[in-house]
């Protein structure tokens, strides 16, 4: 019986490890395949124009064969940064509050909020943004700062995007903070640190890599969001000079045009190049944060 059991155990192990290796290989392959697919799809364009020219030029007129991505790249970076600075501090503070100070029921409530926020389709976020955020910014916020704005602008996009990245960032931040052993808190508290000092010096330190990962993923998420953003951001091919001007981020470019223009090879190729550019931006960005974390850990 035991022998049978060991044999079974061996097989369970073998199968499970086989499956693990297979899916890990697959998950390794998927990003590579997508990256490669994007390169292949954008090849017609890359073949025709120099890469530096594509990303350095502002001239966008695809029907006349002019493909300059500069404004889109800048738009993407701006809106992502903006949404990051709007959401990251809020999420971090909220996560700390909920896991350390708030009564338990509030945290439980927030889990439902997170689940629902994650599940609301981006179209709905976009429509909501048009109904609530755009008029708010166009009619009230922009005038306060002395700008005239239609409300369809970088800031609206940033706000909507920030709200959309809340569930992802917040959830991960909460998990990271919750999993820090309570004994560490005890240790710091018994040294006479205030609760806040404990959070600042011990919790945030212990959770550092998790926190950075959460914020990092939040940014990545924001960088790739399409529909909701494009509904409020104004979609003007330009480099915005302030947050009350319209911008045109890369994902919006794809979503605005793909379905209707995919039968035109150069156009489709340009849209896939946009996706490739996003991919590259995220990878560069990841290299940066990784280097940061790694350096610090040393």
């Amino acid at each position: 019986m035991t022998i049978l059991f060991t044999i079974r155990q061996k097989w369970v192990d073998r199968i499970s490890n086989g499956w693990l290796n297979a899916v890990t290989f697959f998950m390794l392959l998927l990003p590579l395949a997508i990256g490669l697919g994007l390169v292949i799809e954008s090849f017609p364009l890359l073949h025709k124009y120099a890469f530096t020219q594509l990303i350095g030029s502002s001239d966008w007129s695809p029907m006349d064969g002019k493909f300059g991505f500069y404004d889109f790249i800048v738009g993407s970076l701006w809106i992502t940064l903006l949404s990051f600075f709007l959401s990251a501090p809020v999420c971090l503070l909220t996560a700390i509050y909920l896991t350390q100070y708030a009564p338990g029921w509030l945290m439980k409530l927030m889990y439902f909020v997170i689940d629902v926020l994650a599940g609301i389709p981006s179209v709905v976020y976009g429509a909501w943004g048009v109904l609530v955020i755009v008029p708010l910014i166009g009619a009230y916020v922009a005038p306060i700062f002395g700008f005239a704005s239609t409300g369809y602008c970088l800031l609206s996009g940033g706000v909507v995007l920030a709200i959309m990245s809340v569930p992802y960032m917040l959830n991960m931040l909460m998990e990271v903070l919750l999993n820090i052993p309570v004994e560490l808190k005890e240790a710091s508290l018994s040294l006479g640190a205030t609760y806040w000092e404990t959070i600042k010096h011990v919790l945030l330190k212990q959770g550092k890599s998790g926190i950075i990962a959460a914020l990092n993923l939040g940014i990545s998420k924001a960088l790739g969001e399409t529909i909701a953003v494009l509904m409020v951001v104004g979609n003007v091919v330009q480099v915005p000079h302030n947050i009350f001007q319209a911008a045109y981020p890369l994902p919006a470019l794809i979503a605005n045009n793909y379905g209707d223009m995919m039968s035109i090879p150069m156009y489709a190729s340009a849209l896939m190049l946009s996706a490739l550019l996003l991919f590259i931006i995220i990878i560069l960005f990841n290299i940066l944060t990784n280097a940061l974390v790694y350096q610090r850990n040393k």
């Binding site: 689940d115 569930p167 806040w196 993923l217």
Partner: protein
């Protein structure tokens, strides 16, 4: 004294932050409810589109509800059976190979930023290559591809926080890596697992762009995975773009129904896991 002020200051800041998240959520929900409430009826939940549905006439979005549930459950299931081993493996079986894990994390993170429409395009390209038509199956696969990285990384961050002592404890009892992964780490990470699943599920049920090209859209309920299917986000999307106010209102009703579905699933799954939670370190 200064410390007190600092703590109080941050405490208020934190309350403000939490309040603003709640506030925004409330406004979001309120707008959806206000716009969609009147259109919610038994008919819209239980019927498929009838003649002239898209002109504000009779019918419902039962096709989309069912389609979305099939799609979201199917793809979440796929994401879990692919993602769970990977997330555990990164912290157990492959833990020694730090560089490999770093690269894997790195690549998965990059996938977070790929717009879902690109996954749709990717899925569509594969479908065209294999001469397949839009179908539930294609939708499930595409959505799974795109929620799996989300699931893996969300879970991975939770598993990473598990103390090494637990790994040692289980190994020294002679447990295999597999058993350690599924009996010990999985258990310890269970609440995180549930949240990660719900996050992936939410993303899967809420995304329109990736299914647009792959699952198609139809007014009938799919009877097999080879048939195309409607989904709630697409239903919302179509109806929002209608010139007819009744139809637009139904888009919000659909959003409300979707919210209800998510809330229901969220409550049920969290209640279900509550009893396992107590054993966590």
């Amino acid at each position: 004294m200064k410390k007190k002020i600092e703590e109080q200051f941050f405490l208020w800041l934190m309350r403000l932050a939490t309040g603003s998240v709640m506030f925004v959520f409330a406004i979001l929900l309120l707008v959806i409810i206000k716009k969609g409430w009147h259109a919610v009826s038994w008919q819209i939940i239980s019927e498929v589109p009838q003649g002239g549905f898209y002109f504000g006439k009779a019918g419902g979005i039962f096709n989309a509800i069912i389609g979305s549930l099939y799609l979201a459950f199917g793809s979440t299931f796929l994401a879990v059976i692919i993602g769970l081993p990977v997330a555990l493996g990164m912290n157990i079986q492959f833990a020694r190979n730090k560089r490999f894990v770093r690269i894997l994390r790195f690549l998965l993170d990059a996938l977070w930023g790929v717009p879902s429409i690109v996954f749709g395009v990717f899925g569509f390209a594969l479908m065209t290559y294999f001469h397949l038509r839009a179908s539930l199956l294609a939708g499930i696969i595409t959505v799974a591809l795109f929620i799996t990285p989300i699931f893996i990384r969300a879970l991975d961050e939770v598993i990473r926080t598990i103390p090494e002592g637990l790994l040692e404890a289980s190994f020294s009892l002679g447990a295999t890596q597999t058993r350690t992964a599924y009996s010990v780490f999985f258990r310890q990470a269970l609440p995180g697992f549930i949240t990660a699943v719900l996050l992936a599920f939410g993303r899967g049920i809420g995304d329109a762009a990736s299914v647009l090209f792959t699952a198609g859209y139809t007014d009938s309920i799919p009877h097999s995975v080879n048939e195309p299917t409607a989904t709630l986000p697409l239903a919302i999307f179509f109806q929002l773009s209608s010139p007819i106010p009744e139809v637009k209102q139904r888009a919000y009703a659909a959003a409300l129904i979707l919210t209800g579905i998510i809330l229901f699933i969220s409550i049920v799954s969290r209640l279900f896991t509550k009893k396992y939670k107590k054993n966590i370190l």
